[in-house]
């Protein structure tokens, strides 16, 4: 599209040159491109591809963190152990449950607030700041403050239940209380990121559309329902997949707040991997668990990609 805005070439010769090289840049440019990409590629190889390859390799060995070297060859038995281990599947379910609990809230609530804030006549900056600020607080700090507020007997949130005549759940001692604690914390903490994504998308929607709608007699509610939300559909899709992937990767909050307790009933799969790989020294086994988890994440992303492609081609 931008190509059409370029000034037309002055001579035919130049056009010919450009046409010849359009598909394939000259060798020197090619080399420069690789050179510029080298720092990135080196880091990418060293810290992403490298570890994945090493992980794949040691998942086939009885590698441990108490001995140097990769240990003895065990074939696919680590995978067999992982796939038949009830604790592994329990922790996979906890990660999935966390995703099910947080995703709807974190996709819909920020949308609602972003739309509401966008309708404000003044002081929008204040709300954007207020909603986004918690997101920049480090997880450890958030968890320590919330742990303080969840403390039985003396904590602020525990007491807040009393103001409404309710009894606070046992935030650390019971499974349901622990999930409540970690979901509330996560919503407060990460709400701002999705909020900002929605806000940015709302600003992209042209004023003219609203003006036209207003001329046609559409009220604020109709404008939101018929214009804002449909125009935000791609962003909602993006927020949804980002949220699902980041919720599936949950670790910090649950580890710091609950260490996966009580009795491992909230332990997410990443903590399971950490526990077996580092605390229980079983590196090869943990690598196999990581690979299984990695495959699940890839499948989720792939499913989203396929759904989106079908939607796109249906729209076109």
């Amino acid at each position: 599209m931008t190509a059409t805005a370029l000034p037309a070439p002055r001579t035919g010769v130049e056009v010919g040159d450009r046409a010849a090289t359009a598909g394939k840049p000259p060798r020197s440019e090619n080399r420069a491109g690789w050179l510029f990409a080298t720092p990135f590629l080196a880091l990418y190889l060293a810290f992403l591809i490298g570890p994945v390859v090493i992980g794949l390799l040691i998942s086939l060995f009885n590698t441990t963190t108490v001995r140097s070297g990769i240990g003895s060859w065990v074939g696919f038995s680590n995978y067999a152990d992982v796939l038949t281990n009830a604790d592994f599947w329990a922790s996979m379910w906890h990660s999935a449950l966390f995703t099910l609990l947080t995703t709807p809230i974190l996709v819909l609530l920020p949308l609602l607030f972003a739309v509401l804030v966008s309708r404000l006549a003044r002081g929008q900056w204040f709300y954007r700041l207020a909603f986004f600020a918690p997101y920049v607080v480090p997880s450890a700090a958030v968890c320590l403050i919330f742990a303080f507020m969840y403390t039985p007997e003396t904590g602020l949130i525990t007491n807040a239940f009393g103001w409404f005549g309710l009894t606070a759940p046992d935030f650390f001692g019971s499974t349901s209380g622990a999930w409540f604690a970690v979901v509330l914390l996560t919503v407060w903490w990460t709400f701002g990121f999705n909020f900002i994504l929605y806000t940015a998308a709302i600003q992209e929607i042209s004023e003219e559309v609203y003006e036209a709608a207003a001329l046609d007699g559409a009220g604020p509610w109709q404008q939101i329902r018929m214009i804002t939300v449909p125009m935000l559909r791609p962003t909602i899709g993006l927020v949804l997949i980002l949220q699902v992937l980041s919720s599936l990767k949950v670790f910090d909050q649950i580890y710091i707040l609950l260490t996966g307790g009580p009795n491992y009933t909230t332990r997410p799969v990443i903590q399971y991997i950490f526990d077996t790989g580092f605390s229980a020294y079983r590196g090869g086994y943990a690598a196999a668990a990581t690979m299984v988890y990695f495959v699940v994440l890839v499948l989720v992303s792939l499913a989203w990609f396929l759904v989106r492609r079908r939607n796109n081609s249906a729209n076109a």
Partner: protein
């Protein structure tokens, strides 16, 4: 022209930084790049003590530094499961400290993985010999006939009592300080009942049950070990549970929190310390390391004794020990090893400072000294160090392990009444199954 081209400049810069990196071998950063052991002091020491224990350890190190003229670099690593991960990784990669603190319950795995230097000969030359230690601790420090660790203490799980309340309940003997002897679980229950009746409070005793699997595990293993041997053998790969003994232990403990109503079913560590500090219960079941905490409660007059024999004929104390070990390092010079051994001996000689934290010194010359015998309440429970039962040897057992969390969680669900004794045995067996059938790292 003497002007540098850009290429020459970059080349010169690169070689300068390379030279810096090469010459940096003696610095910690340099040695971490080359994989050599850092040598920033004569003895590099790791420990895991915060709070009062940390202060005592710092005093001991400082005293040793001054008297010996050796430089000691001491690092406090946070206690918890990652401590042994850090120790194992640093040792496996050839850069361990010269001396580190380890729990005796963790020594079997570390020794099996060849992460510990068997330095018994050098220790013997320095006068550190078996006859000068609490036998139970020395035995636990020995794996397959080789001694890998020097115990510095034993810290058993014990019985705290409020002296004033015990006096009122008529539970004290003529000295007015010690509990009347108890011979079995009936005596023990009667004592708790007398306390409850005398005070008129809801409960007689408390233990931290909620979100405290380690405490639950200690209480359980103490009770069970009066009746039966270790629950696993062969470094944890064979389950050797005595079902009847386990069910009996669960039933006894569940009675205390359930039908007898002598202890609360749910209590966090905060609840239990509040109840005991305020005199709302007369007894507390906890480790000796809590003594400094309660010493600071002004209105509280308390004493500490070993648990009596409960279900079995002999009293048993669940315990662990802090020990000093020398991690394996191929590059450590003989001179450094000598410094390390001297340092270990230096700390042992100051065991009386260490005992202040509630621990029973493992070093008999101090344990039998006048100074320690006068130390109250520490000298009351020296016997517990001799009756000590540790975690069974296994690659997954020991202080701060997932094993303790998993086992303790089952015990907690029995104590709260959520699981009946037979169900508890099943749950514990199946949980143990996942540990014992996993491929061991050694």
């Amino acid at each position: 022209m003497t002007q540098f081209s850009r290429r020459q400049f970059l080349a010169a810069g690169g070689s300068v930084s390379l030279a810096v990196a090469m010459s940096g071998c003696s610095t910690p950063i340099g040695s971490s790049l080359t994989g050599a052991q850092p040598s920033t002091a004569d003895v590099i020491f790791w420990h895991l003590f915060g709070g009062g224990d940390g202060e005592n350890m710092a005093t001991m190190i400082e005293a040793y530094r001054e008297s010996s003229g050796t430089s000691v670099e001491s690092s406090l690593l946070s206690w918890g499961n990652p401590f042994y991960t850090k120790l194992a990784l640093s040792t496996a990669s050839g850069r361990p400290p010269d001396v580190t603190v380890a729990h005796l319950s963790r020594v079997p795995l570390l020794a099996q993985a060849e992460l510990l230097e068997p330095v018994a000969d050098q220790f013997a030359a320095a006068g550190i010999t078996e006859d000068k230690f609490t036998p139970a601790a020395w035995e636990k420090a020995t794996v397959d006939g080789t001694t890998y660790a020097v115990p510095i203490d034993t810290h058993p799980f014990v019985l705290y009592y409020n002296t004033e309340l015990a006096q009122q309940a008529g539970l004290l003997d003529e000295t007015g300080e010690n509990l009347k002897p108890m011979r079995n679980s009936d005596d023990f229950v009667a004592t708790l009942q007398a306390m409850k009746d005398s005070t008129g409070n809801e409960y007689a005793a408390v233990a931290s049950i909620t979100v405290d699997p380690s405490t639950c595990w200690r209480l359980f293993l103490m009770t069970y070990s009066g009746l039966a041997g270790p629950i696993v053998e062969d470094l944890g790969t064979r389950v050797t549970i005595d079902r009847a003994a386990m069910e009996e232990s669960f039933a006894f403990l569940q009675g205390l929190t359930g039908d007898l109503g002598l202890m609360p079913r749910t209590a966090t560590s905060t609840t239990s310390s509040t109840l005991f500090s305020n005199g709302e219960v007369g007894f507390l079941f906890d480790g000796v390391w809590q003594i400094p905490t309660y010493r600071e409660v002004e209105s509280l007059d308390f004493n500490v004794v070993p648990f009596p024999a409960l279900l079995g004929p002999e009293p048993v104390a669940y315990a662990d020990s802090h020990a000093l070990v020398v991690p394996t390092s191929p590059g450590r010079s003989a001179a450094r090893t000598e410094d390390a051994v001297r340092f270990v001996k230096g700390l042992l000689d100051q065991s009386s400072t260490w005992a202040d934290g509630g621990h029973v010194p493992a070093w008999l010359p101090v344990q039998e000294s006048e100074e320690f015998l006068e130390l109250q309440p520490q000298s009351n429970y020296t016997e517990a160090a001799f009756n000590a039962v540790y975690d069974p040897p296994g690659w997954y057992t020991g202080a701060g392990s997932d094993f303790q969390t998993a086992m303790g969680s089952v015990v907690a669900s029995v104590l709260t009444g959520a699981t009946d004794p037979a169900g508890g045995v099943d749950a514990l067996t199946s949980s143990l199954q996942t540990f014992s059938t996993a491929r061991p790292p050694v």
